[in-house]
């Protein structure tokens, strides 16, 4: 019994409508209503950004839109807060480097 405890089991979630997004090109399963950060966590991915100064990996920290550690590039747009943005079928999330505008040269 202890083995199959899970968040979904706890709240009796019916989760058959899973869909796919990609993270740095690899497929990740997401559930309708999950944020991008939640979908990435569910896949065991905890980091999707590297910092500007030290190039250190970061992911979601506060989980509620306050810390900005979870910034990601989503469908080509940088600086989206992954903990707030809902996952949609076909979304492409890519690791965001630095301030997210490197390719724009600013």
């Amino acid at each position: 019994m202890a083995r199959d405890r899970s968040p979904a089991a706890l709240v009796g979630a019916a989760t058959d409508d899973a869909f796919e997004i990609t993270f740095d090109g690899r497929p990740v399963t997401a559930l309708p209503g999950q944020s991008l950060a939640a979908a990435l966590w569910a896949a065991g991915i905890l980091a999707w950004r590297t910092t500007r100064v030290g190039g250190r990996p970061r992911g979601a920290f506060c989980g509620i839109g306050q810390c900005y550690d979870c910034l990601a590039t989503v469908n080509g747009r940088p600086n989206r807060r992954a903990c707030l943005v809902p996952a949609r079928p076909g979304d492409t999330v890519t690791t965001q480097e630095g301030h997210g505008h490197a390719e724009l040269g600013v």
């Binding site: 405890r5 706890l10 009796g12 944020s35 979908a39 905890l46």
Partner: protein, 511 residues
Amino acid sequence: MPNSASDAPEGGLEDGAEYDLAVIGAGPAGLAGAVTASELGLSVALLDASGQPGGQYYRHPSPDLGAAHPEALHHDWPAFAGLVRRLAAGEVTHLAGHHVWTVARAADTEGSWDVHAVTGADGDGDRPVRVRARAVLLATGAYERQLPFPGWTLPGVVGAGGAQAMLKSGLVLPGRRVVVAGSGPLLLAVAASLAAAGARVPAVVEASDYLGYARRPGALLSHPHKLVEAAVHGAALLRHRVRLRTSSAVTQVHGSDRVAAVTVSRLDRQWRPVRGSGHRIACDALAVGHGLVPQLELAVGLGCTTRRTVEGTHALELGALQETSVAGVWAAGETGGVGGVQLARVEGELAGIAIAARLRGRAMASNARRVRELRRRRARMRAFADAMAAVHAPGPGWPQWLDGATDVCRCEEVTAGRIREAVADYGARDARTVKLLTRAGMGWCQGRMCGTAVACLAAQARGAQPAPPPERRPLAVPLPLGVLGALGRTPAPESDGAAPEDRSDGSDAVG
């Protein structure tokens, strides 16, 4: 006139719609205030950044996740369900997905306020919305207080409240083996829900010693339900074999690109680590937090007076009926001092009644008994919250957890060493000067994560009590430039520092 949709579609609101009352924040305080005022005859707009009501405490999965029992992750769910039923049955216009970035006096209508918001999941919708109202109720809640330590920026280290929020809304865990650490009553609740959802929780590490409760029996005994709640969490933790270590802290996180283990050290009464007491606990995530800090940007921007709380932070100074020092602006819940969900509901209702009385120009006689009862409950719960906050307030020795290379400011990657240098070599004596010299607190989060730590480090140099300044951030949420540009065409909002006005009379005379 407001329509009765309880969740107006994102595009469905005309700019400049007018209401009697704008409530900002749809957590327990805001919900209670909105439905109460609406039921007393006011037209009410309820603005909230989330897609659904509940705030942080009642965060729950989106309906798309099909959770049959969202209440399994909550205490007090029936009270929330009751508020949501009243919201749906009534006339409140619920503006979900609205990130309020400023509130200002309406330039052209005396006694009115303009509430400015941007829409979208993370405020990127670029569509500015302005709601005009005769009264404002700030129910903006709180965010988690963080104290830094070596390794706290490693992926897998998450806020305790953050882990809880991600679990409640996204049904996910940060790892399989999660240590929970920090201080405050929230830790027990977080550990209990993580364990119930299938995580192994090897330990809950609490920096305070809990003996403080024994020294304050009065406050405890007046709140038997709090004891019961603690006992419920305690029983759950025992069942899941979670060890509670008090007077201890995580003083180091190990791992190269994600958490592999933590070192837990014993603390003395000042929260200084006891040399040689550290031991490692293997884990793949750490959920950490040191209580909550009221979220005051909008209020401070309006010039509302703040007070210092027992735990050394700031909260709004409020009158007997929840009015701030700025006449026409009320506040409820954590903005007036962190005190929990029941208190938030009581304050929200009190504010709703007071605002209805003020705007309708009627005496509060018809609600006098209810008001008396609410005020009595509020006083009791505030006293308990203060006692609890004192027990868990950060001890002065915590900066000894830091080494020079520890990032204090996560956004700008400013280390403890550089902050100490600013203090020791360049004479910085407060958080603001440290910020200017080092950029600590100037990044994306505007000091929300490092503010407490920076203020403590700056204050310690002069042996003073650390007192983080009340947050003065010109914009409460990040804003697309186009929105600011568009404002040139509408009445310009007054920015910072509207002069605080005398507390209006009358409101305090009731009850």
